[in-house]
């Protein structure tokens, strides 16, 4: 049975070199300043210099707006999709755009939102007149939400599909109308899907720097953009790593907040 350990050698090497070492290094790096000296300065600066805190706050705010607007669009969509006849086919159509390179989809909006682009053509047509759309907060939020929608629809769709139909019958039977049934039964029972969607969208919304760069111009700075900037532009890896550690912490906080709180798991079947 000595074979068992030989199986594991390449895999353990991977865990050591590409999982543990990089994560440890990013933490380690966060304690060094730009000239390579050990310091707590990065954290000190992060916490005291208003710019970083404001950027973090803004990034979280943007991510919340993106996630909530995605949720508002996706929940009704998932609900309606579930009633369709060939719902698996329609779901596939929702998933298909996620197969197209993210950068190409973002690039499409550079054309759509440009000064003479189709959206401005349309605005002129309806008499609103053309506007600067590209490089605004709204355009960044719109494109991010556009990219994330399928990732929110899928988990909600799945939790709706798993919902035992007799739950809805039972609710109606006990006198609840459609709205009461939705609020008291359907929504609470599909919360796991909503939470999964929230996790899947909130964290990337904090970190997708390519959308901010291409659509938000340099107006919108998120945690991800800041990390990219510090690593690849200003070469201040220490500060970049510090923000990275903050992002990792944010990830754990989100996962903690969206865990299944009432460990009930009481699915009757």
């Amino acid at each position: 049975m000595h074979k068992k350990t030989t199986y594991l050698i390449p895999y353990m090497l991977w865990i050591g070199l590409f999982v543990i070492a990089p994560m440890a290094l990013i933490l380690y790096q966060s304690f060094f300043n730009i000239s390579g000296h050990f310091t707590m300065g990065n954290y000190e600066q992060y916490l005291t210099n208003g710019v970083y805190l404001k950027m973090t706050f803004n990034s979280i705010l943007y991510a919340l707006i993106i996630t909530m607007s995605t949720l508002l669009i996706s929940y009704p969509t998932a609900l309606l999709l579930n009633r369709l006849k060939n719902k698996q086919f329609w779901l596939l159509l929702v998933i298909l755009p996620t197969w197209i390179n993210l950068l190409l989809k973002t690039y499409a909006f550079i054309g759509l939102f440009s000064q003479n682009g189709s959206v401005n053509d349309f605005l002129r047509f309806v008499g609103v007149g053309s506007h600067q759309i590209l490089f605004t907060d709204a355009s960044f939020i719109f494109v991010a939400a556009y990219i994330e929608i399928p990732f929110m629809i899928l988990p909600i769709f799945n939790s709706l599909a798993e919902l035992n139909p007799s739950m809805i019958n039972a609710s109606r039977d006990l006198g609840a109308n459609s709205w009461q049934t939705f609020r008291r039964v359907i929504l609470p029972l599909t919360m796991p899907g909503v939470k999964a969607g929230f996790q899947a969208i909130f964290i990337p919304s904090l970190s997708l720097f390519m959308i901010t760069r291409l659509i938000g111009g340099n107006r919108v700075i998120t945690l991800g953009t800041a990390i990219e900037e510090h690593f690849l532009v200003t070469q201040n890896w220490g500060m970049g790593s510090t923000i990275g550690v903050v992002l990792i912490l944010a990830m754990f906080v989100v996962m903690y907040l969206t865990r299944d709180r009432k460990a009930k798991g009481g699915r009757i079947q």
Partner: protein, 360 residues
């Protein structure tokens, strides 16, 4: 009938091309325990769903206390359902589940509390209010489902095979409790099952169904003693069904002999089926009974022996006897004229009832 709560008039239900319910007509009286009995797919659950409002009839009228309710949505009907899978809400605890219907009706908190506790007491779950559904056993979930329905004081309680997920012992126990509960509350129960024993034990009235039709309705004793046709006789209890010929009123011929019986009203020489229940047959010495049979198999079941035998016309006979025989042995079978029940081919329930009127 002044007392009727629910009435079906020529109700049909089809899914795509398949007919699930075929011209269903019946009336349900207030305060009784009804059972819809039939094999799976016979349409019994569909009837329940039509009453509850989870499905629409393709044609025909459904009446509740004389008012047509075809278009009335489920949440406005004065009936409640105990679901086969209980359909308890997993995100609510026991108390919240039972309180659900009352909260919807915006009843005051104190009244809800009293009513829920009362209902939980009725199903022997007084101390379980704060439990989560996932912490309960199947039998307990069953009771919560019943409490959740009866707390709303419905006019009619619909029970969709509620005992099918329970083990044999618990099932027997719940049968008694349900029967008892119905008597105490005085609510009409409509109970759906495929278990004939359950139906016989609990009901005031049984509707025997097959292939989307109600074949026979009546008290358990009527249906057991006077099944209308081969299907009902076979489905309810064990039966010996042998082909025969009605010689004249009160005389039937089978196994090559004439026997006196208590049935009449058929045409002379009409081909009929003869039913004799296995427990009505006594094993006696050869030639001292009415029929001689040869024993084929014998199984010991504890209380009695289940014996299978054949007569000289090769009809099969099942006999339940406390006396032992041996395979290959020829024995006599003794029975009384009252033990014989005659069934005509293709007789409807109305014709059957009309014929009984003529000589009873």
């Amino acid at each position: 009938m002044a007392n009727s709560v629910i009435e079906f008039r020529q109700v049909n239900k089809s899914f795509d091309e398949t007919k699930v319910l075929d011209e269903i007509d019946f009336e349900i009286e207030a305060g009784k325990f009804y059972t819809l009995l039939g094999p799976s797919g016979c349409g019994k659950t569909t009837i329940l769903r039509l009453i509850a409002g989870f499905a629409d009839a393709t044609s025909g009228d459904i009446l509740f206390e004389g008012q047509k309710i075809n278009e009335l949505p489920a949440n406005e009907r004065q009936v409640n359902t105990v679901f086969q899978d209980y359909a308890l809400f997993p995100h609510l605890n026991v108390f919240e589940n039972v309180a659900f219907g009352l909260e919807i009706r915006k009843i005051s908190k104190t009244e809800i509390k009293t009513a829920v506790n009362e209902a939980l007491k009725l199903v022997h779950l007084s101390d379980y209010g704060n439990r989560e559904i996932s912490e309960l056993s199947g039998g307990q979930q069953q009771r919560v489902a019943i409490a959740r329905a009866i707390v709303n004081e419905p006019k009619v309680l619909l029970l969709d095979e509620p005992l099918s997920a329970l083990d044999h012992k618990l099932r027997k126990e719940m049968q008694g409790e349900l029967r008892d509960l119905q008597r105490r509350l005085g609510i009409t129960f409509i109970f759906v099952t495929h278990d004939q024993e359950e139906a016989l034990a609990m009901s005031d009235q049984i509707f025997v169904m097959n292939a989307g039709k109600i074949l026979q309705s009546g008290s358990p004793v009527d249906i057991y003693d006077e099944p209308i046709n081969h299907f009902v006789a076979d489905f309810i209890g064990e039966s010996n069904i042998v082909p025969g010929k009605m010689q004249r009123d009160y005389v039937v011929n089978f196994d090559g002999q004439d026997f006196s019986c208590v049935d009449a009203g058929m045409k002379p020489n009409e081909a009929v089926e003869v039913v004799i229940r296995p427990e009505d047959l006594d094993i006696v010495a050869v030639d001292t009974g009415q029929v001689n049979v040869t024993v084929d198999t014998q199984l010991f079941r504890g209380v009695d022996y289940q014996i299978s035998a054949h007569d000289k016309m090769n009809n099969e006979w099942k006999i339940n006897s406390i006396h032992k025989t041996s395979v290959g042995q020829i024995v006599g079978l003794a029975f009384e004229p009252e033990d014989i029940h005659i069934m005509r081919y293709h007789e409807t329930e109305d014709d059957f009832d009309a014929r009984l009127e003529t000589y009873e």
